[in-house]
């Protein structure tokens, strides 16, 4: 019996014993083809999915390496059927290739005639194809390059896209590394993307994804279209680019609800791109406004469906996706794979944290016991109001105040879902609040003030979830959330994970009402955080209040 650190389960999950002496070696061996699913303290769970295997194939790993890694590190014999299945799945990638031919333009080519026959017969594929060029090749309409990749993935025959990219309009962009340097993993991520052509870089919040984007632009040396989630984020991208690259104010345009600038580097929001008037996407021409050499997608896991459709037409341009997680709440991971590209770089949160790039976080769940009256009211509330009720109970307000007092002198963020509750909290805490109706100017002013420690407590609604940069927040208190969404959790945690100037740890509180649906949602959250490897502690609100 070998004594490896890995246990291969019949459902294709891999259990890695972290304390094992060969654990690190094993982690490196399996990371290319298995997605880290859970990383609690002792045993990490990886999952071998077809997408993960194809990502590995795209990164140049073959089935033999995968099988060898499993056999070498596995403690128990690996079921033969599983190995066969892995080899079979991996062999599916690349049987079909999209290539550019001198005479015929875009072609779909296969070394395996039977596979080509199978996909040619699929009803969804047929309309995308043109003339048959002999036994192993067929013309593809150039406009269908994205769609056919999507459709082929669904059929289980992901195509390797070797058709290359247009260079785009040349534009000089260099990194200005005067008072800072590219971190090693940022360089690796940008290089990995560039060599792969197109694809997704997975980095935790706070790990400097913007800089990876800038490094990618420096590789491309071409006009760039950057798609971000919202206006604030667009501003921040602009600030970062001005700071980190040779680009000047005139070279960067913003394409948002208010401004419509098209410049060599243009930053557009998803929102403006998906705005429709009379059923027509009004701003589609932006994609053709210039001969873009690079398209950057920020927060790929939030990419809205219309952008996917638009992206399908952009397959000849280099694309890089930036995200903290490949997990999409809508399950469209396959579309990310086929339209943006395979995963090109991935670093687990915990490791980055160990290297000191992101701050370690302590997660604390504070359980509030409802008063008898509150419990009665909760029991009588309509089903749809229940969450709102228990998430916004006055008891929570008291505990939150106590927590804020406890962390006096630190930069504290209070995050919530319900505006009434936030207003009330803001009033009690005597702190400014940022919510949907807050003007962009005002938001930025408050952020800046928070950054400069002029204000120490900031109450924010979910608008702050995405792409804001609050470098000095060391405490986050979450009072209500959106029904335990995993992705939101990753975002919120990201708020406090940025490295602190003093290198101190971050603290993440969730205030939860005991014995209510709030606690059920908290259980999801807790599971997510524990799976991410964060120490998770539960304390009683009474203990918090008593410590006063």
């Amino acid at each position: 019996m070998s004594d490896g650190p890995l246990i291969v389960q019949s459902d294709k999950t891999l259990l890695l014993e972290v304390e094992h002496e060969r654990a690190d070696e094993c982690r490196k061996a399996i990371a290319p083809f298995a997605e880290l699913e859970r990383a609690p303290e002792h045993v990490h769970t990886y999952r071998v999915t077809p997408l993960a295997l194809w990502n590995a194939r795209a990164a140049g790993h073959d089935a033999e390496q995968v099988v060898d890694a499993l056999i070498e590190f596995s403690r128990y014999p690996v079921p033969h059927a599983l190995l066969v299945d892995i080899a079979e799945t991996m062999s599916r990638y690349g049987r079909l290739r999209l290539e550019k031919s001198e005479d015929h333009g875009l072609t779909l080519t296969s070394t395996d005639k039977a596979v080509l026959e199978e996909v040619l017969r699929a009803r969804k594929i047929q309309p995308m194809l043109g003339e048959r060029l002999g036994e192993d090749s067929v013309v593809v309409h150039p406009s269908e390059r994205g769609n056919i990749k999507q459709a082929l993935l669904k059929l289980g025959w992901p195509a390797e896209d070797l058709a290359g990219y247009v260079d785009g309009e040349y534009h000089e962009i260099t990194l200005t590394e005067d008072d800072w340097t590219l971190r090693s993993y940022q360089r690796e991520a940008a290089d990995a993307f560039w060599h792969g052509g197109s694809g997704v870089v997975v980095l935790p919040c706070g790990a400097g994804k913007t800089i990876v984007g800038a490094a990618a632009m420096a590789h491309a040396q071409a006009t760039t279209l950057i798609l971000v989630t919202n206006t604030v984020s667009a501003h921040q991208w602009k600030q970062e680019l001005l700071k980190r690259t040779s680009l000047t104010e005139d070279e960067i345009g913003e394409y948002t609800g208010t401004k419509k600038e098209i410049r060599p580097v243009t930053i557009a929001t998803y929102q403006v791109m998906t705005t429709r008037r009379q059923g027509v996407y009004r701003h589609l021409e932006l994609f053709d406004a210039r001969d873009w050499g690079l398209v950057i997608y920020d927060e790929v896991h939030l990419l809205p469906a219309p952008i996917f459709r638009m992206t399908a037409d952009l397959q000849a341009r280099r694309r890089v996706g930036l995200t903290a997680t490949l997990v999409r709440e809508d399950g469209r991971e396959g579309d990310v794979f086929s339209l943006i590209g395979p995963k090109r770089y991935d670093a687990p949160w915990k490791e980055m944290e160990n290297q000191g790039w992101i701050a370690p976080a302590d997660c604390v769940e504070v359980r509030v016991t409802l008063t008898d009256q509150e419990r009665l009211a909760y029991a009588m509330a309509e089903a749809e109001d229940r969450y709102r009720f228990c998430a916004t109970t006055p008891s929570k307000t008291r505990v939150t105040e106590t927590l804020v007092r406890r962390h006096a002198g630190e930069q504290v963020l209070v995050i919530g879902q319900y505006i009434d509750q936030l207003d009330e909290l803001a009033e009690h805490l005597d702190a400014p609040v940022i919510k949907g109706e807050t003007r962009v100017k005002e938001r930025e002013r408050l952020y800046q003030a928070f950054r400069e420690k002029e204000i120490q407590v900031l109450v924010v609604s979910k608008v702050a979830n995405f792409s804001i940069d609050l470098p000095e927040a060391s405490v986050a208190i979450q009072v209500s959330g959106t029904f335990g969404s995993r992705q939101e959790e990753a975002q919120r945690l990201g708020r406090v994970l940025r490295p602190k100037a003093d290198g101190g740890g971050a603290r993440f509180y969730s205030v939860v009402s005991r014995d209510t649906v709030d606690q059920d949602f908290a259980a999801h959250r807790q599971r997510f955080l524990a799976e991410q490897g964060y120490a998770y502690q539960i304390i009683d609100a009474d203990d918090v209040l008593a410590s006063e």
Partner: protein, 815 residues
């Protein structure tokens, strides 16, 4: 054609040769024939001859086919050297060196099987073989048969064509034509006459099958009028019409086309197996891993079916819906689930409680199986799979009448399954250490070993066997495991094996049983888990059964395999509390078996659920008694006459009763009052329902195992045949009986033998025709004989029976 020579040859054989014969062809003594002539009749019957040929490998069959082609009648003898010459021509180049040994062996084997007989100088083919050999070696019928039904004028015309115009008057036309075609060089000359297209058509048929379809095959064509290439052939007798639209290549033409060879590329020896090489140790470990998980699946299945048994369909089997549930339960593909269910059934672990509308329940045997060590449990399952004639792989397919074959359906069987399975595994085992033979080469080897049994049907069984063997852990990574090899029964007893050799000898020298070989390869059971803050527990190996069962109760299984991942949740903790544990019990148990400190969230979960658990209590009451004045209820409770009502005080002002309202009212009135309750004893009920069992069905059909009949049986059968034969011989002699003596009745010897047995109290073996006329054989302890009947204790039926003497076909000592 006469069987006399053959009969005499058989009679002249030594007993050990006869024993060898019936050992290789056990159907000849089931039931035991009355005498040697009976044995001959049976041996030469089409079914027995066919079965004998079925057992031949390709080379031995080729020898028989060569014989058939070279001799036209069975009586004709053929010297060994002529046979060798013909076979040598067919052997593929490069393998001639191995011919002599192989041919000698094949001829000896054929003699042992009584398919060939006679000395080397004049070998003869046993009667009956020719009749069951259609198109030997893919050759068509001899010309004489092919042209037999042609009209005389047509034959004359053909003879003229063959004979270049000369007239063939005066002879039987078909024989004349056949004779001409057989003449050396004639066919060659005719072939030179026809065009290349016609030649190509012939080449298509040359190596068989020799028949083809052709519209209007009986057309009248002559060399002069022939248009198409086919017509050129028909005109020259190179093709013979056998029907309105079918033609055949006459044997003489076929042989000429084959250049005198009867077979193409004949191999004297079995083809070698090829496949991937694996490290034997790794293969063994992999197989052990499979064996382990298979046993676990079987146990999981039985445990679930204990409490939630699926119903038996009216037609037998398991419904599609229940099957789906089982697939989910085992979290395995459908075919593996079907295999687990079928093997558990074959091993007698589950059975139907009633033939129709019953339920599939674990048997009492399951309880015995469950407590055994994993390796022994595996052996029981594997042996059942190996010997069964059921084919789990067919589940989900449709039968001839397009009915769905469900899992456990009675029709889900194939008579040949056990044999094919064993043969397949033997081939895999023969590949030697560390070689995983490819499916293709296994099929090829089997096709060599039993060429007459080939076909998609067998290939399907072979494929099933290979994939199922991997699942069960017979093989690991396609290589036969050490313990799987040990479980395969020794191959059929050697024909030359002396009788009465202790059949257990081979087992006695075996180094270890399969279970002993398997045991050290199985993962060690662990008695601890790793608890984590995400509320999971990981058991890094198989758990000891007690801990495993406890965890299954207190947590939900999330992932299975080498390890097990359990997840604690509100529901699972509640389930454990329902089953009678307290929060402290749970925490103590977890702390005891965890290698890591109990994570705080888990402790919170347990205490949280426990805090709410049982806060609200629910009971059953038939009536209640309510009174605003607690003191009145105090009185009622204190009253001895109310004891029969089994009253229970729920609150100061509430009492519950299990009696009906009327009874409570009546009783209270009788005492002088008026009426209420939680459950009977106020405790929370354990909701787990009791596991149920059914009886194991009486053992399945006794069948001849693939290992062949027991030597003792064979010896007894031969004695019976000999004895019967002597009696039979004697019966022929009455003509020469001395005058005045009463002729012995035909069964006199039988009667004498039985009388002797009664006197000595000995056991005898008899052949007996039952009331339906079926021949059977019994082992009896004769008690008395009277009125034409024998009364005896029938050991085969374990009861005393009366046997009509005239139906007893033969008697022999059992010894």
């Amino acid at each position: 054609m006469t069987n006399t020579d053959f009969t005499e040859w058989l009679r002249g054989l030594a007993d050990d040769r006869l024993r060898a014969l019936v050992t290789t062809r056990p159907e000849l003594i089931t039931p035991v024939p009355a005498h040697l002539e009976g044995l001959v009749i049976r041996a030469t019957s089409p079914s027995a001859a066919g079965r004998a040929l079925d057992r031949l490998d390709r080379f031995a069959l080729a020898v028989v086919e060569t014989f058939l082609v070279l001799t036209e009648q069975d009586g004709a003898g053929l010297p060994y050297k002529d046979l060798r010459k013909a076979v040598a021509r067919s052997v593929r180049s490069g393998e001639a060196g191995r011919l002599d040994g192989a041919l000698r062996e094949a001829v000896d084997h054929l003699r042992t099987m009584a398919l060939l007989y006679g000395p080397d100088t004049a070998l003869r083919l046993a009667p009956g073989v020719r009749e069951v050999s259609e198109a030997p070696a893919g050759l068509g019928p001899p010309a004489i048969e092919a042209f037999r039904h042609h009209p005389p004028e047509r034959l004359q015309e053909l003879i003229r064509a063959v004979h270049r115009g000369k007239d063939g008057q005066g002879e039987v036309a078909a024989e004349r034509l056949a004779g001409l075609l057989a003449e050396g060089g004639v066919v060659g000359r005719l072939l030179d006459d026809v065009g290349p297209q016609a030649r190509a058509a012939l080449d298509e048929l040359a190596w068989g099958p020799p028949a083809g379809r052709l519209p209007n095959a009986r057309r009248e064509v002559s060399v002069a009028t022939a248009q198409s290439p086919i017509e050129q052939l028909l005109a020259r007798g190179l093709l013979a019409a056998t029907g309105e639209d079918s033609v055949v290549l006459p044997r003489e033409v076929g042989l000429a086309l084959r250049g005198g060879r009867i077979h193409r590329d004949l191999r004297p020896e079995a083809p070698a197996l090829d496949g991937a090489g694996r490290e034997q140790g790794l293969a063994d470990r992999t197989a052990a891993g499979q064996a382990f998980s298979f046993v676990r699946m079987a146990e999981e299945l039985c445990e679930r079916w204990s409490v939630d048994p699926p119903g038996t369909l009216r037609a037998g089997g398991l419904s599609v819906r229940d099957m789906k549930k089982t697939v989910q339960l085992l979290d395995a593909p459908e075919w593996i689930t079907a295999l687990v269910v079928e093997v558990a059934h074959a091993a007698g672990l589950v059975a139907s409680s009633a033939p129709a509308d019953g339920e599939w329940l674990p048997t009492t045997a399951y309880d015995g199986w469950r407590v055994k060590a994993t390796e022994d449990r595996w052996e029981a399952l594997a042996a059942a799979w190996l010997a069964g004639d059921r084919v789990p792989g067919l589940a989900g397919e449709r039968d001839d009448r397009d009915r769905l074959l469900n899992v456990l359906h009675p029709e889900l069987r194939r008579p040949a399954a056990a044999e094919v399975r064993l043969r397949t595994l033997r081939v895999v085992a023969s590949a030697g250490q560390g070689l995983a033979p490819s499916a293709g080469s296994v099929r090829e080897r089997l096709a060599f070993e039993q060429p007459r049994r080939r076909g998609t049907y067998r290939d399907q069984l072979v494929d099933f066997t290979l994939r199922e063997a991997e699942q069960l852990g017979f093989t690991g990574l396609g290589v036969m495991s050490v313990f799987g090899r040990e479980l395969l029964p020794a191959s059929s007893p050697e024909p030359a094996k002396p009788p009465r050799s202790p059949s257990s000898r081979s087992r006695a020298v075996a180094p270890a049983t399969p279970a002993q070989l398997l045991a050290p390869l199985l993962p060690e059971p662990v008695d601890h888990v790793v608890l984590q803050a995400d509320l999971t527990a990981v058991a890094p190996g198989p758990l000891t059964s007690e801990l495993g069962r406890w965890l299954t109760l207190a947590a939900d299984v999330e992932s299975k395999g080498g390890a097990t991942v359990y997840r604690f949740g509100e529901g699972s903790i509640r389930r454990a509390l329902d089953a009678g544990s307290s929060a402290d019990d749970l925490i103590t148990m977890l702390e005891k078996h965890s290698t890591t400190p109990l994570p705080q969230p888990l402790r919170y979960l347990v205490t949280d659920v426990a805090r709410r658990h049982g806060r609200i209590r629910v009971g059953t009451a038939s009536a209640y008694v309510r009174c605003d004045d607690p003191s009145v209820l105090d009185e009622v409770m204190a009253d001895k006459r109310a004891v029969a009502l089994r009253l229970r005080r729920l609150a100061p002002t509430v009492v519950a009763s299990r009696s009906t309202r009327a009874a409570v009212v009546d009783s209270l009135r009788a005492i002088g009052y008026s009426p209420v309750a939680e459950s009977s004893d106020g405790d929370v009920l354990v909701t787990r329902s009791d596991a149920r069992r059914t009886e194991r069905p009486s053992s399945a059909r006794p069948s001849l195992g693939p290992a062949g009949p027991d030597p003792d049986l064979v010896a007894a059968a031969i004695r019976a045949v000999r004895a019967g034969d002597e009696a039979h011989q004697a019966r022929r002699k009455p003509v020469a009986a001395p005058d005045g003596q009463v002729p012995r009745s035909p069964s006199t010897s039988t009667v004498l033998a039985l009388q002797e047995a009664i006197r000595q109290g000995a056991r005898v073996w008899i052949g007996y025709l039952d009331s339906q006329g079926h021949a059977t054989s019994r082992i009896l302890e004769p008690a008395r004989m009277e009125g034409g009947y024998l009364t005896a204790y029938d050991e085969t039926r374990a009861a005393v029976h009366r046997f009509a003497l005239h139906r007893i076909t033969g008697v022999a000592d059992v010894g």
